[in-house]
Symmetry: none
Subunit: 283 residues, 2 copies
DNA sequence: ATGCGTTTGTGAACGTGTGCACAAAGATGG
DNA sequence: CCATCTTTGTGCACACGTTCACAAACGCAT
């Protein structure tokens, strides 16, 4: 019997988000084992292949059920099936890609797309110069066809690879057409109604995070293996003093009222538990 | 031998990782405000623009110091500077991209690269047919030049866009050459020595996570109406509701809570959905 | 059957992240 | 100067995630 701890309703079913994010990782490792006809695998081995802690892996699997055999390990084929089923990969997921520029082209050509049940239903663009060309054997169709495509092919996942300025607009249109999951490559904060999932892939953010750690490594490590430039004046830390000065210089007479097109403070509306548009447009 | 993949050593004076990951988001919103010459911004406004909770934003900023003014908010320019400095964006970060195929080309052409101090130092590939061509005005150079480029240009960040099979090998070579931060687009678990940071961008994983939630959305509710959350904003979107119903009617599946017995395994052919995929391709 | 070595599944401790709520700090107006 | 209003900075409680450690379960040999 499944014993589900009740008491809170945050997650409908008890698979933690962190676990869900790791299941594809396990699945990939298991698929590789399956191709080599490995019959069973221990949590230790599989965890090593997936680059995670073995206890974490076992706990993750425990959310799916008791699929292992003590003293032996996990049946590879069976686990592949169970994870696939849990992730919803036993069915086909048609996907539309909107914005067939540099990145959209690359994604359209990406073989790993179809390998897990994700099928490119259509490539869409708004530029007449792009519409009509083809990418990866698929024709690029005009945005006007979005609604009919989404409906006829039951598309529930959309990928946005348009410039940032068009992303929210494209997103709105996708949602309106019936798409309920969006993968956003544009560096924009998307606002969507409840029930729609958005995940973002942001190269710039990843690089900035790397830069942060890189700077820390360079600045705090006493040992210096290779010769670097003479430590670019890492502004010491009299920042508080500079703060007042800078604030004073910037302040002067400038006030929020200088903004003509927005009634800036009017939309405070504290009790906001619903999602509305951001107060200021991100770019 | 392999040590712990990533030695997460929490520094005493460290900024939480979750905060670091959000700083670029704040920075982007602040930059947009700066371009519009907005002098100050409250945590509420900025949080809305960045799509986060305002208390979280304030706590994030509190790790950087007390840079706000009570009753007023934060000075935009000053905060841009502080976050940039904290992230290490006040200096230039040369980057090499290895594997100039579909994705490598797109990245090379990406304007957002240079906009934050990340400069493409070189494009590298192993294929003689690709070497010598150019992408985004930069010549594609041969892997043999990697070491000299990394050393002469002080490259500490490498981007891997090779096929999965070559990723670990390329990674090893990057590390050997002196690169200490890697952004990996190949669906591979990279093993690196201590002191080297790896971040990955994995389209396939993102899609699978979306598919999981999508499946849940489609399968967890009874046919009639759902009554699970107190969110009142429900009837405001008839189109989406209709789309969901249509989709539900098309592909129900998603057996609710079919607890499988452990004894009868090897039921992988039981997926009588669309068509059975052996899942053999590397994602 | 019994014992032994192996490995799972999970309780429990611990660490990290989130969000509420509010006192304190500063601006603003009188 | 004081009163009032706005917004920050943070204590606190709780939710979530990670890791340890070990009893129970299982295969296998005797
Ligand atoms: N190229 C990269 O490597 C890369 C990396 C990270 C993020 N991004 C982001 O991905 C997005 C796309 O980048 P790109 O380099 O491919 O840009 P791009 O300019 O090459 O392509 C954008 C495409 O979107 C189309 N488009 C514009 N407005 C549209 C609309 N309203 N509806 C439909 N289509 C529309 C354009 O016609 C164009 O074909 C950008 O937001 C960029 O910031 C790109
Ligand atoms: N194309 C996409 O949209 C996309 C999306 C997600 C992930 N990925 C992943 O990104 C990677 C690249 O994808 P792609 O579509 O650009 O592939 P691709 O085949 O078009 O390009 C790969 C490039 O890497 C080069 N290469 C191969 N081995 C190398 C080596 N040892 N050293 C240096 N260069 C080498 C090849 O010559 C080729 O130019 C793959 O791992 C893929 O799984 C791609």
């Amino acid at each position: 019997m499944r014993r589900t701890p009740v008491g809170r309703q945050t997650r409908a079913r008890g698979i933690p988000e962190a676990t869900v994010a790791r299941l594809p990782l396990y699945l990939r490792a298991l698929t590789a084992l399956s191709e080599r006809s490995v019959p069973t695998v221990s949590s230790e081995e599989l965890a090593a292949a997936a680059g995670v802690n073995s206890a974490k892996l076992r706990k993750d699997f425990s959310y799916l059920g008791s699929y292992g055999t003590r003293g032996v390990g996990y049946d590879v084929e069976y686990l592949v099936y169970q994870i696939s089923r849990e992730l919803g990969l036993t069915q086909d997921w048609p996907v539309v890609i909107v914005g067939i520029g540099n990145l959209g082209h690359a994604l359209a050509n990406y073989g790993g797309f179809a390998s897990r049940g994700f099928r490119v239903a259509a490539l869409l663009d708004a530029d007449p110069a792009v519409v009509g060309s083809s990418a990866a054997g698929l024709p690029v169709r005009h945005m006007d066809e979005l609604e009919s495509i989404v409906e006829s092919q039951q598309v529930s996942i959309g990928v946005i690879t348009t410039p940032p300025g068009a992303a929210q607009q494209v997103c709105d249109r996708l949602v309106e057409a019936g798409v309920t999951s969006i993968l956003n490559f544009a560096p924009t904060v998307l606002t969507v109604p409840d029930g729609v999932d958005v995940r973002k892939v942001d190269l710039s953010i990843e690089l900035q995070i790397l830069a942060f750690h890189e700077q820390r490594k360079a600045g705090e490590e006493p040992e210096d293996e290779r010769e670097e430039e003479p430590a670019p004046s890492r502004a010491a830390n009299p920042v508080r003093a500079a703060a007042a000065k800078l604030r004073r210089a910037a302040g002067g007479s400038a006030k929020p009222e200088a903004k003509p097109e927005k009634t800036d403070k009017a939309q405070k509306s504290a009790a906001g538990n619903d999602h509305e548009r951001p107060a200021v447009m991100p770019a």
